[in-house]
Amino acid sequence: MVVVSVLTALGLYLAQRNITANAERDLQQEFQTELSSLHRLQELRHAALVERCRILAEKPRIHAALEDNALDLLYPSAKDELRDLMEGGEPAPGQAASTLRARFYRFLDSTGAVLPPPNSKDVGILSKAAEAELAFNKLPDQQQIGYLPDTDSGKEILDEVTAVPIFSTETGDLISALVVGFKPFEPVTRRAGTGILSGTWVDGRLHLPSLSKPARDVLAAEIRGVPMNTDHTQNNFTVHINGAPHLLFYKRLNPNSLFPAAYEICVYPLASWIAQLHQLRWQIGGGGMALLLGGFVASHFVAGRFSKPMEQLAVDSEKNRARRKRAEAALASTSEKLKRSTRYSAGASHQLKSPVAVLRAGLESLLAREGFDSKIYEELSALLHQTHRLAGVIDDLLLLSRMDAGHLEIASEPVNLSQLIDEWLDDLSAVPDSIDVKIEKDFPIELNVAGEKRYTSLIVQNLLENARKYNRRGGRIRVSAQQNADHVLLTIGNTGCPIPREAQPHIFDRFHRGGTGSSISGHGLGLNLARDLARLHGGDIALLRSENDWTEFQVRFPVAQPAPDPAS
């Protein structure tokens, strides 16, 4: 419980911190985006202003006045040329005229001083101090953007000033400059209601008309404390206005200008943002706590529901245990009985083998003796045959009993099944009383199965012998084998009287003989033995079909794993 609580609290704390950091970053990014889009707008405007002024500065009359020693005609000529640029003139239709409207213009002489206009009403009224600020120590050879604070009928204004150089068309020398003051840029897209203030910082003075004078003075003092006039063209820092924290962004408006450095300033009140953040924090914390509490209640409820069946289970399992003990005892006695039976079977087999061997030896020696009636030889021969049969039965029984006792262990190795089949087919054809059957073979030269060769051979032998034994004269045996992913499938089919349908489910039973006549030798253990051996190897035997003169068995052998690399 405590661990869960601590982990949850830690998770909440981390999530909260993460969200705060994200929010802060988002705010900054939003600001940077706004500022840079504003700046792009400014740049476009500057380019437009400069281009406008450059075209004006190239007017032949202005050049004529400057070059043909007619300075008295300079301002009158310019008055005509700049008529539509100046306030009061007819704005060109379709033009966003107000943003490109000049408030004043002046020419500078070759030393950079302001050429006094004959009538300042025509060229826009400027205070003496402001006019003096337009002068350069040396004429600039490139256009300059500057910001000039001034007062117009008691109102504080800021002019955006563009200075373009004028080169003589005759000598190529820098002879003058045209300085035009435009109304400052007031983007209408500025979002109202968010409390964002924007203004300009020029030459250590703050121009931010929307802020009250005392607040502005405090802010200006704070900005002055920050080294803005360094390499940074843009940055941000936190300031306080009326005691409330604000985020201030600034960006240089006129980089590389000979005019005093001017910065666009955006001030964003952090108070509402901090309040939002607080609220968010509380929401996260509260939500987390509610979640935790809910979790505890739910887990208690669930645990209660779970414990009831558990208790029942404990009672039941006690009963089951007693029952199982009884079953185990019964199983143990059964198993003991079974073991005894297999031990008996094994012992019996051993006890049986030696008398048969003695019997066979006796019969063979009698057969070797001469002087008996030929009928006796036949009898002896039949008896000897029976002893062979008996030995076979005993061998099979021995093997079966070992298997039943679980003593038969398979030493699995790759066995070439194809070779085994070929050997047994050879043997079959060599049997003296072999009936005339045709043998069809369809298997690759080498098919390796996993098993012990003795027993695999026994399986094949059993099936092939059956195929011969239960065949008819002039019939055929078909042996085919193929390999798939994990198994080798050996199919042995033979012609001959099919196994009766009702006998088919029992053909693998011990001592069952498929209802065939007694004319065929056999003891009913072969198929049973073969199937047990096949199963012991991880395979199986099945009767595929037995009808219409055709009986087909299929053996499934496991495929031999490739022999391990002798080097390893």
């Binding site: 004529a64 003589s168 005759e170």
Partner: protein, 214 residues
């Protein structure tokens, strides 16, 4: 070439009545600044500015006899046309009191004006079919720079002189000034807006004086 030739021819013709009375002649050669391009007679020449100096290219000079001569009672009318966005002829020497017409031979507006101290005027915009042909009378001696308010590259020069005795040199700088009154004068050669050379001359009836401006 045709216009230039006819302008020279006109200048010679206008002097004929005087030459019948006074027939002192001055001839010689003005050494002209080296031209960057080879002097080709048929080549159109134009006003160029180099280091603030206006001159014709290829270089040509105006040779004139300075002195106090009476103004003509009915001053001749001359023309400086605007053709192919250039003034033609680019340099026109005239006597004070001469009226100059500025016909527009292009298919576009021109707006000929001058802010030169010798003559300030502004003809405003006008089209080729403007009638009467805008003209100005030049009453003060001096060099007048012609400009077009629409085509800022256009430049033309009118050299207003207080004398009826003037002539333009050929491309090699050779000149011949006929029908001059006898007496002590100053012969001047205007080479560009900053360079005028001068030499004192004593002219006698029936004599041909040879003067070279080095």
């Amino acid at each position: 070439m045709g216009l230039r030739g006819s302008a020279c021819f006109n200048a010679v013709l206008s002097l004929l009545p005087i030459s019948a009375l006074a027939d002192a002649v001055v001839e010689g050669r003005v050494e002209l600044p080296k031209s960057h391009s080879a002097p080709v007679v048929v080549k159109r020449y134009e006003i160029v500015t180099q280091g603030g100096v206006l001159s014709t290219q290829p270089p040509l000079a105006v040779v004139y006899l300075e002195g106090a001569f009476p103004k003509p009672k009915s001053p001749p009318t001359k023309q400086v046309a605007q053709k192919d966005l250039a003034f033609l002829p680019p340099l026109l020497p005239i006597q004070t009191g001469t009226r100059v017409e500025f016909p527009n031979l292009d298919d576009t507006y021109h707006s000929v004006f001058s802010y030169s101290p010798a003559k300030r005027f502004d003809l405003g915009r006008y089209r080729p079919e403007e009638r009467p042909i805008p003209s100005e009378a030049f009453d003060t001696a001096g060099l007048v720079t012609l400009r077009c308010d629409i085509h800022e590259h256009m430049r033309g020069l009118i050299l207003v002189l207080n004398t009826p005795y003037f002539v333009m040199t050929d491309a090699e700088g050779r000149f011949r000034l006929r029908g001059l009154p006898p007496g002590q004068y100053t012969l001047k050669a205007w080479i560009d807006s900053k360079t005028t050379r001068e030499k004192p001359v004593a002219l006698k009836n029936g004599e041909t004086l040879h003067v070279d401006f080095p």
